[in-house]
């Protein structure tokens, strides 16, 4: 039995949807759903939730690379079989959570995890750095301006002590998106690592006729930089497009719509750093991350410039922010001019918005600080 290519529609099953979640929940979770009273992080990476029934569940949170193999998932299953009656879950931020129903099962699980080299780091809770959410990068994507898994590995290696401890003023959410499409939705992160292009698209006149709907390619440009044009290919005039380079903001939307307009480039591509976003409504409203470093090169394999830039921001924040203050709340309290100074980041015109709604970000008050920027 199996798929029969001669009768592809026979016996076909469709629209089943995901399996019901309840069958996968550990018994202590299933029995106490909706009855939880409070929780406590008993040590970095270990949470205890208390139910009104008196039950407790201990959760051990473990960082993962997200890009993982079948072999790795089977090892995760081995651990869950040995300690958690065959149940586990993943978090939104690519952490693995192993749950046990009593305190005495915690240490054996921690010991087991620690015995497996660096595969299962325990942490990612409370006022620290949890796992980086990220996109595909060069392992699978066709439009990236940087890799994803590589820079994430390099940054997390450097920030590892912040993953396994809780010494920061608040949680710090780091995210990476490998191009401006932002599949990773990094735009509301404490620190966002964003792949950017800096060279306008090339036009592949040889290929454009076969692969592009020209009106769609033209309409795809938010600044009207893509215009209809003619070119000669093999002695014949063809309809194509041209790009007004001064208008290009390197978003790459034209390439998404038209494969004959590639823009990726080893020298042109790299990373921008944005900071100060948050998703939670706690205290202050959710906010977007702001661009503070316009470009860092793709220095493979460990992106040292990016790693150093993020550490500098994090250390300045750790030293200066108040308890509970997120990176963006801190920057707003001290003022962005002070943020640049404290983080030792050169301020450039590239941090001044000149796109839509730019005016919302310009300062229209006499209130400012005399930082080193004023000569």
């Amino acid at each position: 039995m199996g798929y029969n290519p001669d009768k592809p529609m026979e016996g076909r099953l469709t629209d089943l949807g995901p399996p019901h979640y309840e069958q996968f929940m550990p018994p202590v979770i299933r029995e106490n759903k909706g009855k939880w009273l409070w929780h406590e992080i008993v040590q970095p990476g270990v949470l205890m939730h208390k139910s009104e029934t008196g039950d407790e569940v201990y959760t051990i949170r473990v960082g993962s690379a997200r890009l993982v193999t079948c072999m790795f998932i089977r090892e995760v299953c081995d651990i869950a079989d040995a300690h958690c009656d065959g149940h586990l879950r993943f978090t939104t931020r690519n952490n693995i959570e192993f749950m046990v129903d009593s305190k005495d099962k915690v240490q054996p699980l921690l010991d087991d995890l620690a015995s497996r080299g660096n595969k299962f780091p325990v942490g990612g809770t409370g006022a620290g750095v949890t796992n980086i959410v990220h996109t595909q990068g060069w392992i699978h994507c066709h439009t990236p301006a940087t890799d994803a898994s590589g820079p994430v590995k390099a940054v997390m290696d450097d920030l590892f002590d912040y993953f396994t401890s809780m010494t920061l003023p608040a949680q710090v959410r780091i995210a990476l998106a490998c191009c401006l499409n932002m599949c990773g939705a990094v735009h509301a992160s404490d620190i966002a690592i964003l792949g950017i292009h800096r060279k306008p698209p090339m036009i592949d006149h040889q290929r454009i006729t076969g692969v592009c709907e020209l009106p769609l390619a033209i309409a795809s440009c938010p600044l009207g930089a893509v215009k209809p044009a003619k070119a000669e290919v093999d002695g014949k005039e063809i309809k194509t497009v041209k790009v007004t380079v001064e208008r290009c903001m390197f978003c790459g939307n034209c390439y998404t719509m038209c494969p004959a307009m590639p823009l990726a480039d080893p020298e042109g591509d790299g990373i921008a750093i944005l900071v100060g976003g948050k998703v939670s409504n706690s205290r202050s409203a959710p906010k977007f991350s702001k661009l503070v470093i316009p470009f860092l090169p793709n220095t493979t394999p460990r992106w040292p410039e990016t790693v150093e830039a993020i550490r500098k921001i994090l250390v300045a924040y750790e030293k200066d922010a108040k308890k509970y203050e997120r990176v963006g709340e801190w920057a707003e309290r001290i003022g962005w001019e002070r943020f640049f100074e404290k983080c030792d980041i050169p301020f450039t015109e590239k941090s001044i918005d000149d796109y839509r709604l730019a005016y919302d970000t310009w300062r229209t008050t006499t209130q400012f600080k005399f930082t080193s920027h004023i000569k």
Binding site: M1, Y3, P5, D15, L16, G17, P18, H20, Y21, F24, I29, K33, W36, L37, H39, E40, I41, V42, G63, A65, R66, L67, V68, T69, C70, M71, I73, G86, H87, L88, F90, T92, N118, P121, T125, W138, I139, H140, T143, D147, D157, S165, M166, L180, M182, A185, V186, A188, V211, P259, A264, V279, S280, N281, S282, R283, S284, P286, T300, Y355
Partner: protein, 426 residues
């Protein structure tokens, strides 16, 4: 397939964080095409650019989404990744698994694909990374028949909905995010599998305003739990916090000495609406002024709980910056009861109202938040039949350019310029 030299990637095997390179190498021992994944990635590290071709439309019969086509631009060097299509498998609510289920899925993926995965994709699906076109139908057959599982969304359709872990292990969830997410995902299978929208559309379900699935930042319809009545206070537990017997913020700051807990500085003074105060050793809250931001509850989880009359706020239109800039969702319905008892009738009616309007007026590749911006929030709520309320805005408009309708103005718009001139010489 030959093993490739990977001097650059090898440098990502050291360090304390788990190494995807070590993992891929270990898998390559039993699955040789993984060497070609490593080989092509090494080439990208050398060239500092991707080696995947643009797009490629592949899929299974009857579905317009769930599989993303991908082809190598150097297939002669790396034949094992000539085709490297991604399969999105819809995840169960809150990403709980049994090992039995995961092991079966891994067997299936090793049989039909590369044995490389993402747990999980940004939207929430299980991502199976890399297979050939001819494997898609056999994989789909086995996925549906042997596992009873299904593909998620891709393209201009409803993307696989996602939720926080909700009431399953969180005391703050104000509605059952798991069941809501699961029910609506089943209800909208057609919209997930057969693209009929102007562009992608996302639902995300968060149980409270902490918003652990980032619903307000990245979903077209954000359903975020809240409550209507008063924060439940356990005054005895408040005293324990004040006495330093309970760790603030659930112990999240225990790695550093922040000094003794100070309820005034850490809770009352950080309340955005200044609606809390101490009377003797009792904490008082003027709940009518509370905007339910969660800060005080986060800091004192054993003393404070969300109110008991629970539901959700519905916000619309979040998206990442491409193209006109990032948008957060806009508050449209302040409070909606979310209950399986009436099959989420109110929420479904709301969702379909948004879709009806967006499918009619939305442009190609325009997210609903952009359509709302282009056409205007007043028009959007009018079409939705929702009364305007100040909760929808941060502040009233700062310009006087109102689009007055003719029927709103006494005497209408038709006037006689000759009559006007009889009284007003030019």
């Amino acid at each position: 397939m030959a093993k490739h030299e990977t001097p650059l990637l090898d440098q990502l095997e050291s360090g304390p964080w788990p190494s995807f390179v070590s993992d891929l190498k270990a898998q390559a021992e039993t699955k040789p095409e993984v060497w070609d994944i490593l080989g092509q990635l090494e080439l990208s590290y050398k060239d500092r650019i991707t080696h995947w071709k643009h797009g490629g439309i592949v899929g299974v019969f009857g579905y317009g989404g769930g599989i993303v086509g991908r082809y190598s631009d150097v297939p002669e060097q790396f034949p094992g990744v000539e085709h490297f299509h991604t399969i999105r498998v819809a995840q169960p609510s809150s990403k709980y698994y049994s090992t039995e289920n995961l092991r079966k899925l891994m067997d299936l993926w090793e049989k039909h694909g590369s044995a490389v995965t993402n747990f999980h994709g940004s939207t929430g699906d299980i991502i199976l990374l890399g297979t050939r076109t001819e494997n898609l139908e056999p994989f789909f057959w086995d996925l549906t028949h042997d596992m009873g599982q299904d593909l998620g969304g891709s393209g201009s359709n409803l993307r696989t909905p996602a939720c926080c872990l909700g009431q399953s292990r969180c005391e703050w969830a104000c509605y059952d995010t798991q069941e809501t997410c699961h029910s609506l995902t089943l209800h909208y299978q057609d919209e997930i599998h057969r693209p009929a929208f102007p562009y992608k559309f996302k639902f995300k379900f968060s149980g409270c305003a902490n918003d652990c699935v980032a619903s307000i930042a990245r979903s077209d319809i954000s359903v975020i739990g809240t409550w209507k009545d008063d924060i439940r206070i356990d005054q005895a537990a408040v005293k324990e916090y004040v006495a330093g017997n309970y760790p603030p913020n659930g112990g999240s700051h225990s790695g550093k000495d922040w000094g003794a807990f100070d309820i005034q500085a850490e809770v009352i003074d950080l309340c955005p609406t200044e609606c809390m105060w101490m009377e003797g050793d009792e904490l008082k809250i003027n709940d009518a002024e509370c905007t339910r931001c969660m800060h005080c509850i986060n800091v004192m989880p054993r003393a404070l709980r969300p109110g008991a009359e629970q539901g959700a706020s519905i916000l619309v239109g979040a998206k990442a910056p491409i193209l006109d800039g990032a948008q957060l969702s806009t508050l449209i319905v302040p409070f909606m009861p979310i209950s399986k008892d009436n099959d989420y009738e109110e929420l479904i009616e709301f969702i379909e109202g948004v879709w009806d309007w967006w499918m009619e007026v939305g442009k190609n590749r325009e997210r609903v938040g952009e359509t709302m911006q282009r056409i205007g929030l007043p028009t959007f709520i009018k079409v939705m039949g929702i009364e305007p309320i100040p909760q929808m805005i941060k502040m009233p408009r700062e310009n006087p350019y109102v689009f007055w309708q003719e029927e709103e103005v006494e005497g209408g718009f038709d006037r006689d310029v000759d009559e006007f001139r009889k009284r007003h010489a030019a």
